[in-house]
């Protein structure tokens, strides 16, 4: 058994070549244990979404490797073969863009269940309803199409779809940035429930409030590298890097006020 469930080893991702070459991720390493909530925080363009895509098996890294249960994830152009495939699932930023507009929530989730479990239509729908109900989507809303649902509901349908594979890792790329505050609270409560059940979550976000609330460890990313990483609480209370201090001081409200006072003192 490997020490870590998911591990990134010296991963680099480069897009383009020559004068248009962009190094999105530069030699970063990350670890995730089973059932652990970790965060990747950074501004737009920091490379955090690219890294999430690499972890999800959607982007072949230029250098380095991703290990799942100690085994290399990328084999040639293929990623996550066999049983590992269903164990890492991803939820995207824009729930409207990631759901098929033609399918009801129920059908979208049932389709995923059918693909993963290879069961009958009836059984898959039953399981889909269960998953949706757990995500706080009643049957009445489950048979609606994405455009008839609110942003928060759509995002919960996406999560239900990701859970249909019974994953051990959930990668969430900015899951709360397109929904409003009370919907955000609802989604975070659900995430907390999933953590209690042993799911590991990688939360990618620029919202430090959400990171502080949900994660135990955090990686602070800037220009493709991790500038600081460690226990979330320690980083929030005692950031070492100037960049982290600046990020914290930018949070509106009480969280930022404390960080700003510290920043001014130093």
């Amino acid at each position: 058994m490997a020490d870590f469930l998911l591990e990134a080893k010296n991963v680099s991702v480069t897009f383009g070549s020559g004068s248009t070459k962009v190094e999105a991720v530069k030699n970063v390493s990350l670890t995730l244990r089973a059932g652990e909530p970790i965060g990747i925080v950074g501004e737009s363009g920091s490379g955090k979404s690219t890294l999430a895509r690499v972890l999800a098996g959607l982007q072949v890294p230029t250098e380095g490797e991703i290990l799942f249960n100690g085994e290399s994830v990328y084999k040639g152009s293929k990623a996550y073969t066999g049983e590992a495939r269903r164990q890492v699932q991803m939820v995207f930023q824009d729930p409207y863009g990631s759901l098929n507009p033609q399918l009801t929530g129920l059908n979208a989730v049932a389709e995923a269940v059918r693909i993963h479990d290879k069961t009958s239509k009836e059984l898959s729908e039953e399981r889909a309803l269960q998953l949706l109900r757990r995500m706080g989507i009643a049957e009445l809303d489950a048979i609606k199409k994405p455009r008839q649902l609110s942003g928060g509901q759509r995002q919960r349908v996406s999560v239900a779809r990701a859970l249909s594979a019974s994953p051990t890792v959930l990668l969430a790329d900015e899951p709360t940035s397109a929904i409003d505050q009370s919907a955000q609270a609802q989604l975070l409560n659900l995430f907390r429930g999933l953590l209690d059940e042993g799911l590991a979550i990688v939360l990618v976000s620029h919202d430090l409030g959400v990171i502080r609330y949900l994660t135990k460890r955090v990686y602070v990313m800037k220009d493709g590298v991790f500038v600081e990483s460690g226990v979330t609480e320690e980083i929030f209370n005692d950031p070492r890097e100037e960049y982290t201090k600046l990020l914290l001081a930018s949070i509106p409200g009480d969280l930022g006020v404390a960080a700003r006072q510290k920043l001014n003192k130093s």
């Binding site: 009370s182 975070l188 609330y213 949900l214 969280l255």
Partner: protein
């Protein structure tokens, strides 16, 4: 008109509907009531679909273009009716006395015009066509853009989100408006950029005396930069008060909103959520539209019209008719 006691903007019992040829008119705001004083920074907060953007459209005269109509009530700008303003009246107001910064900074600027051309267009609006170039530079300096000469020649796609939003703010400020409306100006921008934009808005307010309306669903943000808060739920203003007063909210919806704030939550603790979803437009029940989601709902909450704000304008107003029960929450 003197700036003595009349507020800059008075939103009075505004009801907004979307008329339809075959179907009955759909009411989307009923009723909105609040004032904005000169030089004041007011936050409007509410869930998506609560009518915050619609209210703003009444203040910049773009409601009818989007198919909306003020069915009753009025919006007064320095005492003059905006509901009855004609398009030619609007030409004198919009972009002159009232500036607007749209929600999407990325889609805001015209993609095929250089920054210089966009600013020139805004500046010509003032009627004074002299020294456009130097005035453009001043505007960009005002919004703290560095390398002004380079930026003037650039197109929007060459700028970052934060820079684009600064350009939009510069355009809105071209005519030194008395009122600046910023509709979720930092949605989709990074926290560091957000805090810079907020500092900029605060500075504009204090140096130019511009009143600013900030629409957002981020209570923490509004708390930090605004003087007063207007809370909207399902098309109605449910609570109005100063930021200080709102520390002790007097409407169950605001209480719920406040407690769902992530920045004050203990990590890992249960977050308070608001029961159910905001009622959709066209599916409003009689009485208080928050009743189905409220934890202290009483039988009389479900009858009659949606309760109006209680208390005089300028004081801490709430639309809850059972404030005596708030302690139970």
């Amino acid at each position: 008109m003197s700036a003595s006691n009349t507020p800059l903007i008075q939103v009075r019992d505004v009801v907004i509907g979307i008329p339809h040829k075959r179907r009955p008119t759909l009411t989307i705001v009923n009723k909105a009531n609040f004032d904005i004083n000169y030089g004041e920074m007011v936050g409007i907060v509410g869930e998506s679909g609560s009518g915050k953007t619609m209210i703003c459209r009444t203040m910049i005269g773009t409601l009818e273009r989007r198919g909306g109509k003020i069915l009753s009530g009025d919006v007064l700008f320095e005492g003059e009716s905006l509901a009855r303003a004609s398009e030619s009246d609007w030409k004198k107001l919009r972009g002159k006395s009232i500036g607007y910064v749209p929600q999407s900074a990325l889609a805001g600027p015209n993609p095929v015009l250089t920054i210089e051309a966009q600013l020139a267009e805004a500046l010509r609006n003032t009627g004074d066509t002299k020294n456009i170039k130097s005035r453009s530079k001043e505007l960009l300096e005002l919004v703290k853009i560095r390398r002004v000469d380079t930026v003037l020649k650039q197109y929007p796609y060459q700028l970052s989100g934060g820079m684009r939003q600064r350009v939009m703010i510069a355009c809105a400020l071209a005519t030194s408006p008395k009122l600046l409306i910023a509709d979720e100006p930092t949605t989709g921008l990074d926290v560091t950029v957000q805090s810079q934009i907020m500092d900029l808005l605060k500075e504009i307010r204090s140096t130019m005396g511009t009143a600013i309306v900030l629409i957002s669903h981020d209570l923490a943000l509004i708390d930090e930069v605004c003087d007063r808060v207007v809370v909207m739920h399902a098309g109605a203003t449910v609570e109005v008060g100063s930021v200080k007063e709102l520390v002790k909210p007097r409407h169950p919806y605001t209480i719920a909103l406040n407690s769902s704030r992530i920045d004050i939550a203990q990590p890992g603790s249960e977050l308070v959520t608001i029961k159910g979803n905001a009622p959709s437009v066209g599916e409003w029940n009689p009485g208080c539209r928050f009743a189905d989601r409220c934890s202290i709902v009483q039988a009389d909450c479900r009858t009659g019209e949606h309760p109006e704000l209680i208390g005089a304008s300028g004081t801490h107003q709430t639309a809850c008719i059972h404030t005596e029960l708030l302690e139970r929450i």
